[in-house]
């Protein structure tokens, strides 16, 4: 049997089936004939068929005619016309539409809020504690910072004497840079899919990269980058030794603020400030020098402990004594354990803005952000971002005090 013969045989079988499936009784046919005979023309819209249909007879010629076409399909008689019509209308028995209601779909009653709630991250206070110090360019591998020291001595006067001398000595303090990179990649289908939820996918991906870079630069500002001569507030070699907080009276084995009274907390702040003033040669005046005090969020609330008379908190008292002091919460100074700081210690960090016009702490970088350009691939875009930073450099370590164990 050829393929053509098989197709012909199948068409015949389908035709037979269509007629058999109708299964109308003679009464049905007669009844329908009576109805059909009355049709003279337009019978619009049946079921899901989106077209007009004419079925009926004209001068005893039965047939069908679809609204959008000009051809008339002729039937031998009214019975065949009925079958033809029903083959279009499907089954005459299901035309009655009486499915029980299941109500309004919940999805139509719900609202998809267009305010996007984004993940919250720790604050990055490194830049708040330092002065920005951009040197070199993106490819800069190292910074050399010249320092001048002076020596000299006077001598007793004598007419023909040229005694006495003044010299300078120049030294270059060296710090490394660390260059890091990050990637953004966004696919066409990802973009299309996320757009259904009204999210600007590309913008969100870039924001993620920038947040990550911001957090990493902040981390380097406190902890440096091992092996690259890049240091932070917690490990810079130029900084003076960390002052251990004195033990509390209530808990002699601990110096943590959770056990300390308001006067004891104030004494800790005073101790840090004193450690700066003692070595600053008279260059520090609390009325004029701006000071920032960073404390971990875990102990910040203890600054609000009142004194014994409930007239002042430690915070109130500190702010009165140091009108140019700003207290900020620094997550990077927070230790671990329970209470927090009992295993790895909490740190307090006091940073003077400047000493005699020279900044105390620098946020040193060569390139805070470098985009290497977006590359269009087959069905995605890829973009590299990089940055070159030197962490924290303290050209005036005198103006920085650290305390552990608070």
């Amino acid at each position: 049997m050829t393929l053509q013969e098989m197709q012909q045989q199948r068409q015949e079988a389908l035709k037979t089936k269509m007629f058999n499936d109708a299964k109308f009784s003679t009464a049905d046919v007669n009844d329908y004939n009576a109805q059909l005979d009355k049709l003279t023309g337009h019978n619009p819209g049946f079921g899901e068929h989106n077209f007009d249909m004419h079925a009926g007879f004209h001068n005893k010629v039965y047939g069908m005619h679809f609204g959008r076409g000009k051809d008339v399909i002729l039937a031998q008689d009214s019975a065949q016309a009925k079958l033809m019509a029903e083959s279009v209308f499907h089954d005459a028995d299901t035309q009655a539409f009486g499915i029980a209601s299941n109500g309004v779909p919940e999805v139509l009653a719900s609202v998809f809020v267009n305010k996007i709630i984004e993940q919250l991250f720790q604050t990055t206070q490194f830049s708040a504690l330092t002065h920005e110090f951009q040197q070199g360019v993106w490819g800069t591998p190292r910074m050399y910072i010249p320092t001048v020291s002076r020596v000299g001595a006077s001598a007793l006067y004598a007419d023909n004497d040229s005694n006495g001398h003044s010299e300078i000595n120049l030294n270059y303090v060296s710090r490394g840079t660390v260059r890091l990179q990050n990637m953004c990649q966004y696919g066409d289908l990802q973009n299309a899919t996320y757009s259904f939820s009204k999210i600007n996918y590309m913008q969100q991906i870039k924001k993620t990269a920038l947040e990550q870079i911001r957090l990493e630069q902040n981390r380097i500002g406190f902890r440096g980058f091992a092996g690259k001569e890049v240091y932070g507030f917690l490990n810079a070699p130029e900084l003076l030794p960390v002052i251990p907080s004195p033990a509390s009276a209530a808990e002699p084995t601990s110096s943590q603020w959770i056990y300390k009274t308001a006067p004891e907390i104030y004494a800790d702040i005073l101790l840090m400030y004193d450690s700066i003033v003692q070595i600053a040669g008279g260059n520090v005046d609390p009325r004029t020098v701006k000071v920032k005090l960073g404390v971990p969020p875990a102990v910040f609330t203890f600054l609000l402990k009142p004194n014994a008379l409930f007239t002042d908190s430690a915070y109130d008292f500190i702010m009165r004594q140091f009108p140019n002091l700003e207290i900020i919460q620094v997550q990077d100074l927070q230790g671990t354990g329970s209470p927090i700081g009992s295993v790895l210690p909490n740190y307090a960090l006091m940073v003077l803005s400047e000493l005699n016009g020279q900044e105390c702490a620098l946020n040193a970088f060569s390139s805070i952000l470098q985009s290497h350009g977006a590359v269009r691939l087959l069905s995605s875009v890829i973009e590299k971002l990089s940055y070159t930073v030197s962490g924290m450099i303290a050209p005036q370590p005198i103006g920085i005090a650290r305390m552990s164990g608070i």
Partner: protein, 181 residues
Amino acid sequence: MTLKAGFQQSVTFMQCALPGDKYTQPGFGVYDEQGFIVDPDSAGQKIGTFCWGVDGTNNQQITPFKGANTRIAGFVIRGQQSVWANASLSVGYSDIVPATQQLPVCANGSFYAVCPSLNGGGVIVAGDIIILNNLTGELKSQTTGVIPANYTQVPGYKVINAAPADSQTADMVIISNEIAF
């Protein structure tokens, strides 16, 4: 105070000098200063000590260790008269002028120098003689005239001030072959 950090860690008074600085300005500030080249085969010449003239090189080169040399060329002063081409820029402050570089050397004068004493108790006294370690180039001072092994007495030089005012450097003294007090 650690110097590794490189930046100033406390406000101090002005130091009188560093080793190698000149003390007096004799003759209207004219020293018998000569320029020499640091022996290319040496490891570099430290400032603030005496150096040896390299024999047989037309008096052009000096070297920090005695070796086969016979004459002390003079005292290496702290004069920034050459670029330290290969100096390590990282912190450390070796005070060593690299080989092949030029430096100023004075045969006579009064200078600041670090000369730890070999006296009992390590106390430096004005009038002590200056001795130079032949192997390391290190300067020492002592009162008695018996020179230890591997040391050479620097002719004519003595300690004239055992504790200069405003000195923050341990064992820093003023030495001279011109003045006695």
